[in-house]
Symmetry: C2
Subunit: 468 residues, 2 copies
């Protein structure tokens, strides 16, 4: 019963798969971009949980566009964000490297704040920068959260165009009661800027129309760039608290304000897919919908649901990092439910492979080219997932098995526990992490411990960007 379906691979294979040996991958790539390389769109929600989409099990939030996207494309059920909080998660997605490698995580300040001085270093290569080398038009619309000062902004990292709120939408809060501000939000409580490229064009950002305006910007970018390959990173500010939605979506959902907000995001997805169809781009544009981390459970009914998964944003239980993840490209991506493991870390290597873009040979990559899964020609090369809480790996998954070496409540440091007896779960049988089987399988615990030790040895010290 608790045997893995795939016998767990040898450590040698795992080590060979790590980015340390990515040079061989680079060598195989072609240098010249083809005109037929696909467009890429990443639609990234903020704090949306595994269970917040209809087709992932939510009973009352209606997401017909995401549901259809999943049926026409691939619904991944073991897809992870790179970290359980915003800044490191976004750094991981855009660089294909664990945030520990770029200095984009910290135990003291878990994300960047308006008074932060740091950000994604210039030494990092983003998806946008990589794709620009092969002629892609690039835009970032939405939340950035990788540094708002010069040198760290979207335009400094390969994006031709930026429009959005540069960090979380609850930042720059005016001096008032926190609970009141978050649970009964008004635009004027949050003095966050809306930027176009490097200029502030509105402050406070009128957040009630923010999902709508992001969508309009996205559709405009698609329409204006239909002749060349493009990469669009549409990183919604919602459903991060404070929750805002446009008038058309007020009280539209059965599921309250949180449902309204998700249903507006679902509408947004529909608009993007329609724009692709209307411009004849749908069969050559790979669209991915996912989220930066799990639901912010602290905010109760203003936070989302991880469905059957344990925990949420900030932690290393499945609910913190496993995300809805839908890949869509009719006629190219094979429609199916994918139970293989994937991660946002895999997007950069996958896109670069498909776009014939080179990756530098002097960097460690933590992502894999998952295009064989997308096209139905193979299984995922990712068999291991590391669960970082800030600067430390708390848990490791290999195949169906996950070991927790350290546990801690999602927020606050009060209950960090370095476990003398690590916990082992078979996620395939027990996705809710209910039944510890460590005692029965010490050999699996030992193997995953070895993977962790090896991994830790690949980490070199870099400047911490979040504590600057």
């Amino acid at each position: 019963m608790i045997e893995p379906k795939k016998s767990y691979i040898s450590n040698t294979k795992y080590f060979a798969l790590t980015g340390l040996l990515s040079m061989s991958f680079v060598a195989k790539q072609k240098v010249v971009a083809s005109e037929k390389t696909p467009n890429f769109i990443v639609i990234f929600a903020d704090d949306m949980g595994y269970g917040d989409v209809g087709i992932y099990g939510h009973p009352t939030i209606k997401t017909p566009n995401l549901d259809r996207m999943a049926v026409e494309g691939q619904k991944w059920t073991s897809f992870y964000s790179a970290a359980p909080v915003s800044t490191p998660s976004r750094a991981g997605l855009l660089t294909g490297r664990l945030p520990i490698r770029s200095g984009m995580c910290s135990e003291k300040r878990r994300v960047l704040f308006p008074n932060s001085k740091g950000g994604l270093p210039q030494t990092e290569l983003t998806i946008a920068s990589a794709l620009k080398t092969v002629g892609y038009a690039t835009a970032c619309v939405g939340k950035w959260h990788l540094g708002h000062l010069p040198g760290h902004r979207p335009n400094d990292h390969g994006f031709d165009y930026y429009y959005g709120i540069p960090y979380s939408n609850d930042m720059d809060k005016i001096d008032m009661d926190y609970q009141e501000a978050l649970f009964n939000p008004k635009i004027e409580y949050f003095n966050v800027p809306l930027m176009r490229n490097t200029e502030i064009i509105e402050r406070p950002a009128k957040q009630n129309t923010i999902s709508q305006r992001y969508t309009e910007e996205a559709v405009k970018f698609i329409t204006e760039n239909k002749e060349k390959p493009f990469f669009l990173y549409l990183a919604h500010s919602m459903p991060h608290v404070p929750l805002f939605r446009s008038q058309e979506f007020e009280n539209r959902s059965l599921a309250g304000i949180y449902g309204d907000v998700i249903e507006e995001l679902d509408w947004s997805v529909g608009q993007v897919l329609d724009a692709l169809k209307n411009n004849g781009l749908d069969d050559n544009t790979i669209v991915i919908f996912t989220s930066d981390n799990g639901p912010w459970l602290t905010f109760k009914q203003h936070g989302g649901s991880a469905g059957l998964l344990k925990g949420g944003k900030g932690g290393t239980w499945e609910g913190g990092m496993r995300e809805p993840a839908i890949f869509w490209c009719p006629g190219k991506i094979k429609p199916m439910v994918v139970t293989d493991i994937g991660a946002t870390l895999d997007l950069l290597p996958t896109f670069c492979k498909l776009a014939n873009a080179n990756l530098p040979s002097n960097k460690v990559y933590d992502g894999y080219d998952i295009s064989p899964v997308l096209f139905g020609t193979g299984t995922s090369p990712r068999n291991v997932m590391l669960f970082y809480r800030d600067t430390e790996v708390f848990a490791v998954r290999k195949g169906g098995f996950k070991v927790h070496f350290v546990t801690q409540s999602e927020y606050g440091n009060e209950s960090k526990k370095i476990l003398e007896q690590p916990l082992l779960f078979n996620l395939n049988h027990d996705p809710a992490e209910k039944y510890d089987i460590a005692e029965k399988h010490p050999e699996i615990v030992a193997e995953l411990k070895q993977i962790l030790t090896y991994h830790n040895g690949t980490i070199t010290s870099v400047e911490n960007q979040l504590e600057k």
Copy 2:
């Protein structure tokens, strides 16, 4: 935020909707059956949880047939069984009446056992009996659990044909350790009979091929009855413990033995739908897939998952009675996700309406004709659901609101609590029943209390069938 979408209806309306006034419903029906009346198939799983189907959110159990059925048909997300345990749930489904009205529930013995003398009384009318009056061929394949002695059997209740295990598949256990028998089951541990009509044809039933043989019987019945209208009640014995599956499904699922069993049921659904298509019956056969109650959590990884819902089999939290429920009839049933409330109690009135079968005017019915929802012409007439634990209503739902008046652990009587302060949840916003809002809305608690009081007044004393 916590206002209901529909303002909650007046008590007058609720009272008018109850079965007490069902005579008007009967009067509107035609007496003559049309040749074009649809066939009906109810596929009923045993102890399957809300979260055990892919399209209801399970990450590793693969259910392509049910998923497709849901996409082509209606996926209901607030559909309830009549009770949280087997016998009363099945009595409710087949009679359209709460089991308290037929004596088919008991606090002492929650279901029927091999040594029980009682069963569904002859005074009750089943779906099969009702449809027989208008010329339907009828078959029950699978678990009966409404009495195995003469007078109570399927053939005594309107079924032309019966094939199956007459009660739960863990009954007639030989004298051995319970845990061992259930977690490492062998056919010979459970001396349950397999019956054809009133004859025992195999004992112990070879349970490893039971799902497969039920499926073959179902397909045979469909094929043999394609010329006349028919009603097929395919009540699988699985995934009730002890778990058995055929050789083809051993270790097939990523999700362990429980996953194997569900994937065999999913295969079975595919076989039934294919048989309908192959016989040209798919556009005139309404197929419903649902389950008798929530997952039996006691059995851990041999039990299912209620997904995001709280609780499981035996209790009155949502996980005990909310079920996956898929309605399918291509071209007739409007494909959509339905968030309206429905219940297995509604099947009898709906089928009788569509088949032009009369209901007796001297009975109280607790079900509604939900065909307007199926055909996309209206909303569900059901706005209230009563959550019976055995002979007592523990909770009441009206619209989005549910009040718990009594709580108790799923099994055992040790923690029955009659709540001085009832708990109130907004299930639309909070399907996981996490956030009690009773203090803020005493008027809703009071209204639901009034519904309960009224309902209790409609109950008359009948002979208890489970304690005989």
